[in-house]
């Protein structure tokens, strides 16, 4: 008769994994919104300067490239935070089953 209740194990793992993923999303969305807003304002400013003839085409392209690079950096952070969330979810899932699995197997596997 196996000591490990697979159904209970999976329920606990899913429940433990859910929380870190939700937490990271709420942190990420607020940060992204605020940074993208600043970049949007900067792009608007570039457009205005261009319209009043105070910025050459070459300058406008360089300014825009800088804003695009900043946006890329923000998206990379969001990607990284997502990876951290997945990592936290996996580790949370493993943590809740650690005692059960180690006790059943009679050696510290996890």
């Amino acid at each position: 008769m196996p000591n490990i209740d697979i159904s209970a194990l999976l329920t606990n793992m899913l429940s433990a994994a859910k929380e870190p993923l939700l937490q990271k999303w709420s942190e990420t969305s607020g940060y992204a919104e605020s940074e993208f807003k600043k970049i949007g304002e900067a792009i608007l400013f570039i457009e205005k300067q261009r319209l009043i003839g105070k910025m050459t085409e070459e300058q406008a392209k360089l300014h825009l490239e800088m804003q695009k690079n900043a946006s890329r950096a923000i998206l990379l952070t969001i990607e990284g935070l997502g990876i951290l969330a997945v990592e936290a979810a996996i580790n949370a899932a493993l943590s809740v089953i650690r005692d059960t699995v180690n006790t059943a197997l009679k050696f510290p596997l996890i």
Partner: protein, 155 residues
């Protein structure tokens, strides 16, 4: 009968999932999984210091835009130092495994300093410093945000 067969398949799948998980754990033999590099205090402090240096330079350009001393020719030293700083930060980041995202972000910051240099050669009026500041600050914030999250994610 069909229902029983379906349930049997479902239970078998769950058992397979658990066995796979235990197998992976036995191979890696560790308590916690690492999918991204650990927090590096040196990256944190270097980027903070770099942002301060660029901010001081942009403020200087803003205040002295019409003067000769703010012309590109008189400020090439800033760009040389900034490129060396970023190169050193990149080398440090590359020494940590699973740090590709931070390396890409440092490359983007490098590109933005290079774009700032090109703009400076063309001439930057004081009022056009604003979007440059936003782009560089947002890039530095993005790097720091991820670096700090690496620490908090494992505390």
């Amino acid at each position: 009968m069909k229902n029983k067969e379906h349930r049997l398949k479902f239970v078998s799948f769950r058992i397979l999932c658990i066995i796979s998980l235990l197998y992976v754990l036995s191979i890696i033999g560790c308590a916690n999984i690492r999918l991204i590099a650990d927090y590096d205090e040196q990256i944190d402090t270097s980027i903070t210091s770099f942002q301060r240096k660029v901010e001081a330079f942009l403020t200087y350009l803003e205040r002295n835009a019409v003067k000769d001393e703010a012309k590109y020719e008189n400020n090439t030293k800033f760009y040389d130092e900034a490129m060396v700083d970023l190169s050193a930060i990149r080398v440090r980041a590359a020494a940590n495994p699973k740090n590709e995202i931070t390396i890409k972000q440092i490359d983007l910051l490098y590109e933005n300093i290079s774009n700032l240099e090109k703009l400076h050669k063309l001439g930057i009026p004081a009022e056009q410093i604003f979007p440059i500041r936003t782009a560089i600050n947002s890039t530095c914030t993005a790097i720091l945000k991820l670096e700090i999250a690496k620490k908090r994610g494992r505390s």
